[in-house]
């Protein structure tokens, strides 16, 4: 398992390095804009670099999220898959390593960009001379995500947890759809369309299930925890089905 995890990280390393590189360049531009180009934080360099940073953070986290689906697809549909499937590791281990890597990378990337954003916003407001504005800004931002949430560590954690859990559920659904495509529909007509429809259907099902577990008598944070737990269970079921299909039917 350790070896599988190591190589899942290694396979996605180049792309992560690139995202980090872009973020570093934009951050450098941001700092330059903030401290070198006059007192006015409204200068073009700061504005553009802030935008780039924002899109890198957003796009980077999304890309890292779907990257495991892309590598799984490559591992099942190209010659490099021999590398993975010739090892004495079963499908549960192979898929497990992919999901763990994905969850961990996502968490790391999320934390990284969150801290970077936090740092930059702090610097920006400090430069503008009004640090108190920062907290208003953050509260506004969180309120725009969920109106019932007030800013405290507990709710932020619950929110992060639920986002990660529902992402894992989505990734495991994508895994299953891609595995079904490669293992069962391989060479068949409309393979791509069918597996995509399958993916959509599973997502609709997942959302429906999640809705069944939203209770009016429970606090917003409580509902987030329940939702997270349901998403994790759903992801686990998808994982087991995926691994079983892969073990029994996949040919590379």
């Amino acid at each position: 398992m350790k070896a599988l995890l190591k190589y899942e990280f290694r396979k996605t390393f180049a792309a992560k390095l690139m995202i980090l590189g872009i973020a570093a360049c934009a951050e450098l531009a941001f700092l330059c804009g903030l401290y070198l180009f006059g007192k006015d934080p409204d200068n073009n360099v700061t504005v553009i670099s802030t935008m780039i940073l924002f899109f890198t953070a957003f796009g980077g986290v999304i890309f890292i999220g779907i990257q495991s689906v892309l590598t799984l697809h490559r591992d099942m549909n190209t010659k490099q898959g021999y590398m993975l499937y010739m090892t004495p590791r079963n499908s549960f281990q192979i898929l497990g390593a992919k999901m763990l890597e994905n969850g961990f990378s996502l968490l790391l990337a999320g934390a990284f960009f969150f801290l970077l954003g936090f740092l930059d916003v702090t610097l920006l407001f400090q430069r503008m001379g009004s640090i108190s504005l920062l907290w208003d800004f953050l509260s506004d931002m969180l309120r725009s995500i969920n109106t019932q949430i007030t800013i405290d560590v507990h709710s932020v954690l619950a929110l992060v947890l639920s986002m990660l859990a529902s992402w894992m559920a989505t990734v495991s659904t994508a895994f299953l759809a891609d595995i079904v495509s490669a293992a069962l529909l391989n060479g068949k007509k409309y393979n791509g369309v069918l597996s995509f429809l399958f993916f959509i259907a599973l997502n609709v099902l997942m959302n429906w299930i999640l809705r069944q577990f939203s209770f009016s008598g429970v606090s917003a944070v409580g509902n987030l925890y329940i939702e997270s737990a349901v998403a994790v269970v759903y992801a686990a079921i998808m994982y087991v089905i995926s691994a079983l299909v892969m073990e029994k039917y996949l040919s590379v």
Binding site: R10, M83, P88, Y249
Partner: protein, 235 residues
Amino acid sequence: MLKSNQVTRRFGNFTAVDHVTMTLEPGHVYAMLGPNGSGKTTWMKMASGLMKPTEGEITFRGEVIGVNSRRHITYMSTEPFFYSWMTIRDVGKYYADFFDDFSPAVFDGLLTEMELSPEMKTRSLSSGMAAKLKIAATLARDADIYILDEPFNGIDLLARDEIRRAILRRAEPEKMLILSSHLVEEMEAVADIAIFMHKGKLIELRDLEEMRQRDGISMADRYRQIYGHVEVDAQ
């Protein structure tokens, strides 16, 4: 002992391997022969556990081919399959990480013998070098069965001698080697039993020295007899 029992593999309407039944024993070098599309690669992939039969099964020491048999059976495909970000040294590390029977010392020895430098990137290798690297990584394992698909493909005459020597050094009495090649002459002296396949079906298994002694014909002669006017694609 490797048993193929009524093994069949279909791709849609096309039957790549058609009810192949045979028993292969350790201590032999098998030459799997047949024109392109006769099912050699598909059978080899099934024996390595990379592909699942549509019908029938292959067993190794009584156990159906699967995750566990990958510990004992090593497969080398015709095409290069290493991750493009790897250096030759990374390939060795990868094998060492996953296979208990992999010997880094044997791997290094083979690299030296084949004049491959560990720092080279796999994606920058010439086809001949890539073929040598595949051989080195595969043969550095101390496996029970070596399945090599077209080990002489795309390799010049001198390198072929090196590869033949490396393969023969692994041909120990308790090991089994299965090689496929469209270069039939290349296999004459190396193999002792030929497996002739045609259109997915097993035609026959022949002991080559016995055939030369009794019938006075070579493996290539028998190949011509079996496939006759069948167009032999030289790739």
